[in-house]
Amino acid sequence: MKPKGWKELPPGSVVTKPGSAEEFKTGSWRSFRPVWVPENCIQCLFCWMYCPDMAIKVKDGKREQFDYDYCKGCGICARECPGKKGQKAIIMVEEGK
C-alpha cells in the first residue's frame, strides 16, 4: 500500500472506516516468535484464553496455527502453556534466527 500524502488525509485524523484496525499488522512489532509444538499440545486452550490479542486461531474447539499478523510476541501463551509431561507446546524463538 502506497503511504498517503498530506493532501489525502481526513481532517483531524478521524478514522471513518469501522474495524480498520484489522489492516494494521502489529505482528511486525515482535522480537520473539511463539512456535507451536502440536505433539506436546493437550488442547487445553489456555493460550487462547490468555492471549491479550486474538492471535491464536481456534476451529471446532481446537487451536490451530498462530496468527502472526497480530501476535506481538509477548510470550504469555508460552508461559501459561502446561504442555505434556513437562514438555511445553509453545516455545519462544528469537525472530530472525
Partner: protein
C-alpha cells in the same frame, strides 16, 4: 434593529454566546472570565438557551469536556483566562489537531508568578502554537462582534478549527462601554445552524477520534494542519464581509489606522491601541506622519498583508503586553518575520508595556512616537528592546 446598550465586555461576550445557542458549555470559573460563564449559566437556568451546561472540576476538564462534546457533534463553548488557559494547554492541541470547532473567549490576564489577576497578553501569546485561530479585540464591541464571527469561522467547512477570542482582562471585561447588540433573530441568523462533521453520536456511521499516528504519517497530519490554517485568513475576511452587510461594522485581518503614508508606525494590540490612536492623531496634528497597525487575526498571522501595510514606514515600534524573557516580545517576532518579506526594511524596535495590568497611558505612546520620529530622522537606534512605564 440594533439595540444600543451600556454593558461590560464580559456581558457583551456572554450575550454573543447566548445568541449562538451552543449545544454544550463546559464552565469553570477564573478571574476575570468568571463573569462570562456565570452569566451564561444564568441563561441556561432561565431557559434562554438549549445548552447542556457541564460544571467541571478544572480547566483541564473543561477543555476535555469540550473536546468530547465537539467530537460528539455539538456546537461547544467554554471561556477562560490566564492559569486556566495554562492548565488547558495539553488539551488545546488536541482540540486543534482533531479539528474541533470549539469557540472560547479568552479574557487576557497575566500569568503567575508573581500572582496577578490583571490584564496582559501572556496567556494568549503562550498559546500561540497550539493550533487555535486567535482573534484579538480592542473593546467590548469588537469582543462581541468577534465572538459572533468566531462561530462562523470555526464551523466553516474549509476550516473546522477552534477559535479563541481575546479581550483585555478588567480593562475591557469589566468596564462599561457603549455597545450595539444585534437582534437575537439577526444574530442567530448570522451565526447559522451548526453542521457536525463526523459526529461520534452518529452511530450509523461509526468513527474513531484520536488515533495513534506514528512517524510514518504524523508529519503529513501536521503539514495538513498548517495548510488549513493558511486558508483560514480568507474565511475570516469572507465572514467579516457578511458581518459588515448585517451591521455596517467592518473588520479585516488587522486595522490600519492612518497608515497609508506613515513614516513612523506603532503596532499594538487590543485596548491599548485605542489609547495610542489618540496620540497618533496628535502627532498627525503636528504634521508628523504617524500611523498605527492593530492586529486582529494573530493566528494564522497575515505576514504578507502586514508587510504591505507597513511598507512606507521608516521606523516601527512593536508594543508587546507580553514578554519572552531573554527574547523579544511575541508580536515583535511576528512583525520582524513579516518585514523580512519586504525589500526595504524599517528600523524595528520593541517596547514591553502594561504587564500585570499596568496602565498604558497617552504619554507612553507619545514617548514612543517621539523616539520613532528621531530614529526615522537619524537612522540610529538606541536600544532595540526596552520596558516602558517601569521604575528603575
Amino acid at each position: 434593529m440594533a439595540k444600543v446598550v451600556a454593558v461590560t465586555g464580559n456581558e457583551a461576550v456572554a450575550n454573543a454566546l447566548r445568541q449562538a445557542n451552543p449545544d454544550v458549555c463546559a464552565a469553570y470559573p477564573i478571574t476575570p472570565q468568571t463573569d462570562i460563564m456565570q452569566r451564561f449559566s444564568g441563561f441556561v437556568a432561565d431557559g434562554l438557551v438549549n445548552t447542556e451546561l457541564i460544571l467541571v472540576e478544572s480547566e483541564h476538564s473543561a477543555m476535555s469536556a469540550c473536546v468530547g462534546a465537539s467530537a460528539g457533534g455539538g456546537r461547544v463553548i467554554t471561556a477562560t483566562s490566564s492559569q486556566g488557559l495554562a492548565l488547558m494547554w495539553e488539551i488545546l492541541f488536541i482540540a486543534a489537531g482533531d479539528r474541533l470547532p470549539i469557540v472560547m473567549p479568552l479574557v487576557n490576564r497575566a500569568l503567575s508568578a508573581p500572582l496577578n489577576i490583571h490584564g496582559d497578553h501572556s496567556d494568549g501569546m503562550g498559546a500561540r502554537d497550539c493550533g487555535w485561530i486567535q482573534l484579538w479585540s480592542e473593546n467590548a464591541q469588537e469582543a462581541y462582534d468577534n465572538t459572533l464571527q468566531a462561530f462562523r469561522i470555526a464551523e466553516h467547512m474549509d476550516v473546522r478549527l477552534p477559535v479563541m477570542i481575546c479581550l483585555d482582562g478588567f480593562i475591557i471585561s469589566h468596564s462599561i462601554e457603549r455597545l450595539e447588540y444585534l437582534d437575537d433573530a439577526e444574530a442567530t441568523d448570522f451565526v447559522g445552524k451548526y453542521t457536525p462533521l463526523y459526529p461520534l453520536l452518529d452511530v450509523d456511521h461509526p468513527v474513531s477520534y484520536g488515533p495513534l499516528i506514528l512517524p510514518d504519517l504524523y508529519m503529513e497530519y501536521k503539514r495538513a494542519q498548517h495548510e488549513v490554517m493558511t486558508k483560514a485568513g480568507k474565511v475570516v475576511l469572507d465572514v467579516a464581509a457578511d458581518f459588515a452587510k448585517v451591521t455596517g461594522r467592518n473588520y479585516g485581518l488587522f486595522e490600519s489606522y492612518r497608515l497609508d503614508d506613515a513614516e513612523i508606525a506603532l503596532v499594538i494590540l487590543n485596548s491599548a491601541a485605542g489609547t495610542a490612536k489618540d496620540t497618533v492623531d496628535e502627532f498627525r496634528g503636528k504634521g508628523i506622519r504617524a500611523g498605527l497597525l492593530k492586529p486582529r487575526l494573530f493566528r494564522p498571522f497575515p505576514y504578507r498583508e502586514v508587510a504591505e501595510a507597513l511598507k512606507s514606514a521608516k521606523a516601527v515600534c512593536v508594543l508587546d503586553r507580553a514578554d519572552s524573557f531573554g527574547g523579544f516580545g511575541p508580536m515583535y517576532m511576528e512583525i520582524a518575520s513579516a518585514m523580512m518579506l519586504n525589500g526595504a526594511k524599517p528600523l524595528l524596535i520593541n517596547k514591553i508595556y502594561g504587564l500585570g495590568g499596568r496602565d498604558f497611558l497617552p504619554e507612553h505612546a507619545e514617548l514612543v512616537l517621539s523616539e520613532l520620529a528621531e530614529i526615522a530622522k537619524s537612522g540610529a537606534v538606541r536600544t532595540f528592546k526596552e520596558y516602558i512605564g517601569v521604575r528603575e
